[in-house]
C-alpha cells in the first residue's frame, strides 16, 4: 500500500463526508480517515525511529477509536441520527468539494516543496482536507458535524506535518496530539451540555448572542 494510494483514499473520505447526511456514517468515515493517516508515517518511512511508530499508534488509537466513541455517545445523548437540513445541500456540497480540490491543487502548484517530500500529493490532499474541514464546519448545523469538521481540518494539518516534516521533535508531536485530544474532548463535553440544555444539538439555538 503506497503513500499516494493512502493520500487518494484520504481525499475520497473527504468527498464522502461531504455527501453523507447520516451522522453515524460520517463518524465512521472520519475514524477511517484517522486510521489511514495513522498508517501514513509507517508507510512513508518504514524504518523510522521508535517514536514515529509511537506517534502513529497513538494517533490511530485516538482518531480511530477514542473520538468515534466520544461522538457516538454524544449522538446517543442528543438522540439525533442525521443532519436534516444543512445550510448547504449535499449535491452543492459535493460540487464545492470538487472546487476546493481544484483550489488545493492550485495552491500545491504555487508552493513547490523545497525540501524532501514523500509524495507530490501531500500538499494538495492536506489543503483539500483543510478546506473540506472548514466547509463542514461552515455548512452543517449539527454540533457533531462541526466537531467532525474540526477533526478533518486537524487531519489535514497532520497530513501536512507527517508528509513534509521528517524530523519534528517528539515533544511537539505529542503536544499537538495532546491538544487535539483535549480540544475534541472538551468539545464533546460541551456537546453533552448543549444537548442537555436544548435537548438537541442544532447550533441554530446557539445564536442568541449577537449585535
Amino acid at each position: 500500500m503506497s503513500v499516494d494510494s493512502i493520500l487518494i483514499l484520504v481525499a475520497l473520505t473527504n468527498l464522502m463526508l461531504l455527501a453523507y447526511s447520516r451522522l453515524g456514517a460520517s463518524i465512521r468515515v472520519t475514524a477511517a480517515q484517522g486510521i489511514l493517516l495513522g498508517l501514513l508515517p509507517l508507510v512513508a518511512s518504514p524504518h523510522a525511529g521508535w517514536h514515529a511508530a509511537l506517534i502513529a499508534v497513538g494517533s490511530m488509537a485516538l482518531k480511530g477509536v477514542v473520538f468515534p466513541r466520544l461522538m457516538f455517545r454524544a449522538l446517543r445523548e442528543a438522540k439525533v441520527q442525521r443532519e436534516i437540513e444543512p445550510f448547504v445541500g449535499y449535491n452543492v456540497s459535493l460540487l464545492i468539494g470538487v472546487a476546493a480540490l481544484a483550489v488545493s491543487i492550485w495552491i500545491g502548484q504555487q508552493l513547490p516543496v523545497p525540501g524532501a517530500t514523500i509524495s507530490s500529493l501531500v500538499v494538495p490532499v492536506a489543503m483539500f482536507s483543510i478546506l473540506v474541514g472548514l466547509f463542514l464546519i461552515i455548512s452543517r448545523k449539527k454540533a457533531v458535524n462541526q466537531v467532525l469538521g474540526f477533526l478533518v481540518l486537524e487531519n489535514g494539518v497532520y497530513t501536512f506535518g507527517v508528509g513534509l516534516i521528517q524530523h519534528t521533535s517528539l515533544l511537539v508531536e505529542l503536544g499537538v496530539l495532546l491538544d487535539v485530544f483535549v480540544a475534541v474532548f472538551v468539545m464533546g463535553i460541551i456537546i453533552f451540555h448543549i444537548s442537555r440544555e436544548f435537548d438537541h444539538i442544532d447550533t441554530d439555538a446557539l445564536s442568541s448572542l449577537k449585535d
Binding site: 481540518l153 495532546l178 442568541s208
Partner: protein
C-alpha cells in the same frame, strides 16, 4: 527559574482540583499569584538563562508580556477571591431571563485559572514555534471552562463559539508552523528544529513563498485568537458572558499571548527581508479591526460587549503600530502594557457594576458614581485612559504611534487612525457617562457608598499604574521596550 515560572502554577492548578475546602484553595490562588509576580520581578531584574536547549528563554518580548500577565493575574486573583465569596451561594437567578442556574464547581474554576496562568507563562517563555503553538492552544482549552463558569445556555453558547472558532484558528496556526518548518528546509538541518534564534539567524536562506504562506497562516491563525477583525467574532460573546475577572484576563492577557505568536512570526519575516510584506498586512488588519470595532462600539448597549469591542480596537492599534514600524513599534509595545492594564481594570469595575445593578444594558445603569463612588470614579478614569486621554499611559503610546505614521508620511493612515479613534471615543463616551452620572436608578442593593475592599483595590492598583505610566516611564521599562522594538525592527 523559567521552569519554576511554568511549573509552579501548573502544580498549583492541579492541586486546586483536589483541595476540597474553599479557604485553602483561595489562599493557594493568591499565593501562587504573588509568587508568580515575585518570580517575574526577579526575572526583570536578572534575565534568567535559557534552559532546555534554548527552547525556553526570556527575551525582551517575552519578558514584557510575562510582566503584563503576572501583573494582571495578581490583580485578578485577589479580585477573584472577593468574587467567589460573593458568588458562594450555589443556585442563583439569571437577571436577563430569570431562570435559575448553578455555577461550575469552584475547584474547577480555580484550577483552570491557575492552569491558564501556566499556559500563558509558557507562551511567553517558549522560543520554539511548536511549543508556542501548544501553549497557545493550551490557553484556549484552559479558558474555555472559565467562560462556562455560569452554567446556563448563553455562557454555554459563548464557550462553544470560543472553542470552535479559536480551535479552527489555532489549527491554521499549526499549519502555518509546519509551513515555516518547510520554508526553512533550504537552510539545512540546523535551522529545522523551529527555534526562533536559529530561524532568525538563517532566515535569509529561507524559501520565500513558503515563508509568506506561513506568515499568512500564522497571522490568520493567531489573529483569530488575538481578535483581529474579521476573525474577532468570538470575542464579544466570550467577554460578555464570562465572569468579569475572566474577561479581564482574556482581554488583558490572552490576546497579548496570541499577539506574541504573530510577533514571533514577524521576527522571522523581518529577518528574511520580508518586513514590508508583513507590515502591509499588519497595517491593513490593524485599521480594519479599528473600523469594525468602531462600528460595534458606536451605539453599543451592552457595556461588557462594548469593552470587548474596544479590545478588538486596541489589538488593531497594536497591529498597526508594529506594521508602521519605526518609532511606532516602540509605541505598540508600550500600548500593549497600557491596554492590558486599563482594560483589565475596566472589566473588574464592570464586574462591580454588574454585581450592583444586575444588568449588562448600559441604558439601565444610572448614577454609578453615587451608588459605588470608587467604582464610578474608576469607571470614568478607565474610560478616559482607554480612549487615550492624557495624563494616562495610553495617550503616550497612541501619540507615539501617530508620530510613527506621520514621520513616514503615511498621511492617509494617520487620518484614518485619528478619525477612528474619534468615532470610538464618541461611541464610548455616550454610555459610559450616562452610566456614571445622574441619580441612581434601579440599583437593587444600595450599599450606602461602601464597597468591598477586594472588589475595588485591584482595579485601583491597575489604574494607579496606568496613570503613573502616563506621567513617568521607568528607565528599566524603557530599556526593555526599546530592546523589544529593536528585536522586531531587525528581527533580532
Amino acid at each position: 527559574m523559567i521552569f519554576a515560572l511554568v511549573l509552579i502554577p501548573t502544580l498549583a492548578g492541579l492541586a486546586a482540583f483536589l483541595i476540597r475546602p474553599d479557604g485553602p484553595r483561595r489562599g493557594l490562588l493568591m499565593t501562587t499569584a504573588v509568587v508568580q509576580a515575585a518570580l517575574t520581578v526577579a526575572a526583570w531584574i536578572v534575565r534568567p538563562a535559557p534552559v532546555f536547549g534554548g527552547w525556553l528563554a526570556l527575551d525582551a518580548l517575552g519578558l514584557l508580556f510575562l510582566g503584563i500577565i503576572s501583573t494582571l493575574f495578581l490583580a485578578a486573583a485577589f479580585y477573584a477571591v472577593g468574587y467567589l465569596r460573593h458568588e458562594e451561594h450555589q443556585v442563583e437567578r439569571d437577571f436577563e431571563e430569570g431562570f435559575l442556574f448553578a455555577n461550575a464547581p469552584e475547584a474547577v474554576f480555580t484550577g483552570c485559572m491557575l492552569l491558564f496562568l501556566a499556559s500563558m507563562t509558557l507562551v511567553t517563555v517558549s522560543q520554539h514555534f511548536g511549543l508556542l503553538w501548544v501553549a497557545v492552544e493550551a490557553t484556549t482549552l484552559a479558558s474555555a471552562s472559565l467562560i462556562y463558569f455560569h452554567r446556563h445556555h448563553r455562557s454555554l453558547e459563548a464557550a462553544w463559539k470560543y472553542l470552535l472558532i479559536c480551535s479552527v484558528g489555532i489549527a491554521l496556526a499549526l499549519l502555518g508552523t509546519f509551513f515555516l518548518a518547510v520554508s526553512s528546509a533550504p537552510a539545512g538541518e540546523e535551522a529545522m528544529p523551529l527555534l526562533l534564534g536559529d530561524l532568525v539567524r538563517h532566515a535569509r536562506e529561507f524559501h520565500a513563498p513558503w515563508l509568506k504562506a506561513a506568515f499568512l497562516l500564522l497571522l490568520v491563525g493567531y489573529g483569530t485568537k488575538m481578535g483581529l477583525a474579521p476573525m474577532h467574532t468570538w470575542l464579544p460573546d466570550a467577554h460578555s458572558e464570562s465572569p468579569s475577572v475572566v474577561s479581564a484576563l482574556l482581554s488583558g492577557a490572552v490576546l497579548n499571548c496570541a499577539f506574541l505568536g504573530i510577533l514571533r512570526a514577524f521576527q522571522v519575516c523581518a529577518a528574511a527581508g520580508l518586513a514590508e510584506f508583513a507590515q502591509e498586512l499588519l497595517v491593513g488588519f490593524g485599521l480594519f479591526s479599528m473600523a469594525v470595532a468602531a462600528v460595534f462600539i458606536f451605539g453599543q448597549n451592552d457595556y461588557k460587549r462594548m469593552l470587548a469591542y474596544s479590545s478588538v480596537e486596541h489589538m488593531g492599534i497594536l497591529a498597526l503600530g508594529v506594521g508602521l514600524g519605526g518609532v511606532a513599534t516602540f509605541g505598540a509595545m508600550f500600548h500593549a502594557i497600557n491596554h492590558s492594564l486599563t482594560k483589565a481594570m475596566l472589566f473588574l469595575v464592570a464586574g462591580n457594576i454588574l454585581a450592583a445593578y444586575r444588568t449588562k444594558i448600559s441604558a439601565n445603569v444610572r448614577g454609578v458614581a453615587r451608588v459605588l463612588p470608587v467604582s464610578g470614579a474608576l469607571w470614568i478614569a478607565g474610560f478616559l485612559a482607554i480612549t487615550g486621554s492624557p495624563p494616562f499611559g495610553a495617550f503616550l503610546s497612541e501619540f507615539t504611534i501617530l508620530r510613527g505614521a506621520l514621520e513616514q508620511h503615511r498621511a492617509t493612515v494617520a487620518v484614518a487612525y485619528l478619525a477612528l479613534l474619534a468615532v470610538i471615543f464618541i461611541g464610548m463616551a455616550t454610555p459610559v457617562l450616562r452610566m456614571a452620572q445622574g441619580e441612581a436608578v434601579n440599583a437593587p442593593q444600595d450599599r450606602g457608598g461602601r464597597e468591598a475592599r477586594l472588589s475595588v483595590v485591584p482595579a485601583m492598583a491597575l489604574g494607579a499604574v496606568v496613570l503613573l505610566l502616563g506621567l513617568w516611564i521607568p528607565q528599566g521599562l524603557t530599556n526593555v521596550l526599546q530592546e523589544a522594538a529593536r528585536a522586531l525592527s531587525k528581527g533580532f
